[in-house]
């Protein structure tokens, strides 16, 4: 098989997903505290606090604007951290993948299994924020639950570039570059805190093509209960970004693990 071939989907990837899910279940209490507690504090502190000065933004209370942006950001953030720090831990110090690769499971199964797992973690975290936002009164309709598959997709799409970075990583410090140079700018500029339309023209056209912007553009209206404009465009852009990154991550992981 060529190392450049697209990833192959096999049932073994579910065994990799299941492994991570079982480990997570053991640490669930601490993890859930983080997923519910953090957004609760952030939304209260920034959403209400800052919201009192801002009032409304894009036709919704600032609190709602921020909560929906946070859901998209958290999907990106949780999946990226899992696909870098946790995957690296399994790959290098724990040698978990070496053990898996002496069974019929292949590199592709590891990559796909990890992507699905990162998406799952994003889903848990995003849903927690959605729940907190709903409790605090930012969500008005059950239709907001439609956002859950989008959160999962967003997680998978951001896990793939995380895996690309991990495939090159020689240590945990390596991830700081990606976090500082790629993730933080997107967090600040892609419409989580303020509308992308308020950015100066040239910056705006760059920010508009970034994947987090597309995720925010889908997630916010669904949470708020507004129709999504250009749904196919945003979904397509996000999916394309995810697919290309997944393919690249698979190639790079084959090179890293099969030497």
């Amino acid at each position: 098989m060529s190392t450049l071939a697209p990833p192959r989907l096999r049932l073994e990837c579910l065994a990799v997903w299941r492994r991570n899910a079982l480990v997570w279940r053991r640490l669930m209490a601490a993890s859930l505290l983080l997923h519910f507690g953090e957004p609760f504090l952030y939304l209260l502190g920034i959403g209400y606090g800052l919201g009192r000065f801002i009032g409304e933004l894009d036709g919704m209370p600032y609190f709602t604007f921020l909560a929906s942006g946070f859901i998209a950001w958290s999907a990106m953030n949780i999946a990226s951290m899992e696909s870098m720090w946790s995957v690296y831990t399994r790959m290098v110090p724990q040698q978990t993948y070496e053990a898996i690769l002496s069974t019929p499971a292949e590199v592709d199964d590891i990559v796909i299994g990890e992507l699905l797992w990162c998406g799952t973690k994003s889903l848990v975290s995003g849903s927690a924020i959605l729940a907190v936002a709903a409790v605090l009164g930012a969500v008005n309709d059950w239709d907001a639950l439609l956002v859950i598959p989008v959160i999962f997709l967003t997680g998978v799409c951001f896990a793939a570039p995380g895996l690309i970075v991990t495939a090159y990583a020689r240590g945990y410090e390596y991830f700081n570059f990606y976090m500082t140079l790629i993730m933080t700018p997107m967090f600040i500029m892609c419409g989580v805190f303020y509308p992308v339309s308020s950015l100066p023209g040239p910056v705006q056209s760059v920010v508009e093509i970034l994947p987090l912007t597309h995720a925010v553009e889908i997630i916010r209206p669904i949470v708020v209960g507004q129709p999504v404009t250009d749904l196919a465009l945003h979904l397509g852009a996000l999916a394309l970004f995810g697919l290309v990154s997944t393919w690249a991550a698979t190639i790079l992981f084959r090179r890293r693990l099969i030497t």
């Binding site: 065994a15 492994r19 079982l22 053991r26 040698q95 002496s102 292949e106 030497t259």
Partner: protein
């Protein structure tokens, strides 16, 4: 139908390897290695650190693509039948890679799930495996509570979870105390009696002598010698050795018979000869030195073939 490589008795071989090569960039890790492993035998792969043993094992498992040559396992080319082949192989790797996030028992069931084994079959098989490696009382303990020997035993049990036909053991007893080592040896014998084929790498020549029916010695990726332990001793070494320690520089070597072979290493002098009595007689004249007379072993063969220089 594919032709399955067979040995001279026409029994199909488990591993068939011809002119196997592995290059990393410009450096050669394995060069033109050829050997066959017959079913139900224990085959030893011996060599100093960095000789290419682990690289060879990784190629055999499809974890490392070969640069050239033929490599077939169970009659299938490794580059095409990798997944089917791994379904029938169990491996004990050199470095521990048990899953620290799980208990002893969960390690086996998780590993079994990568083979897509039926959970029911696994639940039946696991207690037996744990009992065999004497870890049943620790079934629900976490990995970090186990000693090095227990971890190795668990890794062996894990390698058997898919009931493999070929068991690959990469230095299975390195770093273990004598008790644990003897237990692993007895388990390997048990596996052989159960009809499994075993591929073993080791640094312990005593271990190879005890366990292996056939072995190869490699160094710098090339084959140096091949045969059964006794054959190799006969072929490459005199039958007896006299080890002399002390002020060995004072011993006059000029008068020794031509058929004797001498070797100096630091403070020690080794005299190799087929005439045991003559060696003993010679040692009587060395009053101030420590003399040890013994039969030649695989270790003497190994050192003769690979030299005494230290390896990285």
């Amino acid at each position: 139908m594919t032709t399955v490589a067979a040995d001279k008795d026409h029994t199909p071989v488990v591993v068939h390897c011809r002119d196997l090569c592995k290059k990393f960039g410009s450096s050669t890790a394995v060069a033109d290695l050829s050997f066959d492993i017959r079913p139900r035998t224990c085959f030893g792969l011996l060599g100093p650190n960095g000789a290419g043993k682990t690289t060879t094992l990784r190629m055999l498992l499809g974890q490392s693509p070969r640069s050239g040559g033929i490599l077939e396992v169970f009659g299938q080319d490794i580059s095409h039948g990798r997944r089917q082949i791994r379904q029938r192989i169990g491996i004990v790797p050199q470095a521990d890679n048990l899953d620290p996030d799980f208990t002893v028992k969960e390690n086996l069931s998780m590993y079994g799930s990568y083979f897509r084994l039926n959970p029911k079959v696994l639940n039946e098989r696991i207690p037996g495996l744990l009992e065999m490696v004497e870890l049943l009382p620790r079934a629900n303990h976490r990995i970090n509570t186990l000693s090095g020997g227990m971890k190795r035993r668990l890794t062996l049990a894990r390698a058997l979870v898919n009931d493999p036909q070929l068991l690959v053991l990469d230095e299975p007893t390195t770093g273990l105390d004598p008790q644990a080592r003897h237990m692993i040896w007895s388990l390997i014998h048990q596996m052989k009696r159960a009809g499994k084929t075993i591929l073993l790498t080791t640094h312990y020549m005593e271990e190879a002598e005890r366990l292996c029916d056939e072995l190869i010695v490699i160094d710098e990726g090339s084959l140096l010698a091949q045969g059964s332990p006794t054959e190799l001793i006969h072929r490459y070494c005199e039958s007896d050795v006299l080890e002399i320690r002390g002020d060995v520089n004072e011993i006059c070597l000029d008068t020794l018979p031509d058929t004797w072979r001498t070797e100096k290493a630091g403070e020690s002098l080794y005299l190799y000869a087929d005439d045991a009595q003559a060696l003993v007689d010679f040692s009587q004249n060395l009053a101030d030195m420590v003399c040890l007379h013994r039969h030649a072993s695989l270790e003497d063969v190994f050192l003769r073939l690979t030299g005494r220089a230290l390896r990285g």
